[in-house]
C-alpha cells in the first residue's frame, strides 16, 4: 500500500504572500490589494470564502493598528507582518506584531448590542472564520486565522 501524507492546511504554500509594513490605517488598503492579488492567483476560491477571509483579516489588522499600538509605549517598531496563504484546503493568515499584549480572552468574545458603536471587531472576525488563535511569545503577538474552504 502506498504511503499517503495528508496535507496540512499550509501545504502548497509556495504561493504565499508575506508583507511587513508600518501598522497604520493606510496599510489597510495595501492588505486589500494583496488579497486581490491572491484571488487573481486562485480564481477557484468562492466569493463567500473570499469575503469572510478578507473581513477577518481586516478586523485583526485593524485591532493591531488600534489596540496593540494604542499608546506610544506599545512596541518599539510599530510594525506588523502578515503571511497569507491559499491552498486547496484553506485560507490562512498569520499576523505578528510587537505591540501591547491582547488582554481579551477569545472565549469571552461576544457580539455587543445594537446600540454599540464599537467592540464588534473580534466577534466579527470569529464569526467569519473557522479558527482564530492568539498567542504571545518572545514579546510578540501572534494571530492566526483559518477559513476552511467551502465548495464554491
Amino acid at each position: 500500500m502506498p504511503e499517503t501524507t495528508v496535507p496540512g492546511p499550509d501545504a502548497g504554500d509556495e504561493n504565499r504572500v508575506e508583507l511587513s509594513a508600518p501598522a497604520t490605517p493606510e496599510m489597510m488598503h495595501l492588505v486589500h490589494a494583496v488579497l486581490e492579488q491572491l484571488w487573481s492567483q486562485h480564481e477557484d476560491v468562492s466569493m463567500v470564502d473570499r469575503m469572510r477571509f478578507e473581513m477577518a483579516v481586516i478586523e485583526i489588522l485593524g485591532n493591531i493598528v488600534e489596540h496593540a499600538y494604542a499608546m506610544e509605549s506599545g512596541g518599539t517598531e510599530r510594525r506588523f507582518d502578515v503571511r497569507l496563504t491559499a491552498t486547496d484546503a484553506a485560507l490562512v493568515a498569520s499576523f505578528g506584531d510587537d505591540g501591547m499584549p491582547n488582554t481579551i480572552d477569545l472565549s469571552d468574545v461576544a457580539m455587543p448590542d445594537e446600540e454599540a458603536e464599537s467592540g464588534r471587531g473580534l466577534a466579527l472576525a470569529m464569526a467569519a472564520v473557522d479558527d482564530l488563535t492568539y498567542d504571545r511569545s518572545a514579546g510578540r503577538n501572534h494571530w492566526r486565522l483559518t477559513c476552511l474552504r467551502q465548495p464554491g
Binding site: M28, M51, G62, E114, E115, S118, R120
Partner: protein
C-alpha cells in the same frame, strides 16, 4: 480609495453614497459627513450602499453613530441597496434588524 457623494432630495432627505471600501481609514470620513448633515438640520438620511464594496466594524460603528444622531434629532438613518459583502456583515453582527436594508434610495423612507 473611497469617495463620498452627498446629495439632498427635494423632500429634504440627505443621501450619502460611499464609493469604495468603508474601513478603519475611511469610517471617520463617513461619520463626519453624517454628523454634519444632522447638525445642519438634515435628520432624515439614506446611506446608499450600492457602491460600498467592503464594510468593517469601524464602518458599522459610523453607521450606528449616524443612526443614533439622526434619531436624537427626530429623524432616522436608513441603508439602501447593500452589496452582498455588506449584507453579510449586517447579518453576522445581527444588525440587519436595526439597519434593515431597503431596496431603493427613493423608497427608503416609505415604510
Amino acid at each position: 480609495m473611497i469617495e463620498f457623494a452627498v446629495d439632498t432630495t427635494p423632500e429634504g432627505i440627505g443621501v450619502v453614497t460611499p464609493k469604495g471600501r468603508l474601513n478603519m481609514s475611511s469610517a471617520r470620513g463617513l461619520k463626519e459627513i453624517l454628523d454634519g448633515l444632522v447638525s445642519d438640520g438634515t435628520s432624515k438620511i439614506v446611506v446608499d450602499l450600492a457602491e460600498t464594496t467592503f464594510l468593517d466594524s469601524s464602518g458599522l460603528g459610523a453607521l450606528i453613530a449616524g443612526l443614533k444622531a439622526a434619531r436624537q434629532s427626530g429623524g432616522d438613518l436608513r441603508v439602501a441597496r447593500p452589496t452582498e459583502a455588506v449584507l453579510t456583515v449586517f447579518k453576522l453582527t445581527n444588525l440587519d434588524r436595526v439597519l434593515r436594508p431597503r431596496d431603493s434610495v427613493e423608497g427608503a423612507f416609505d415604510a
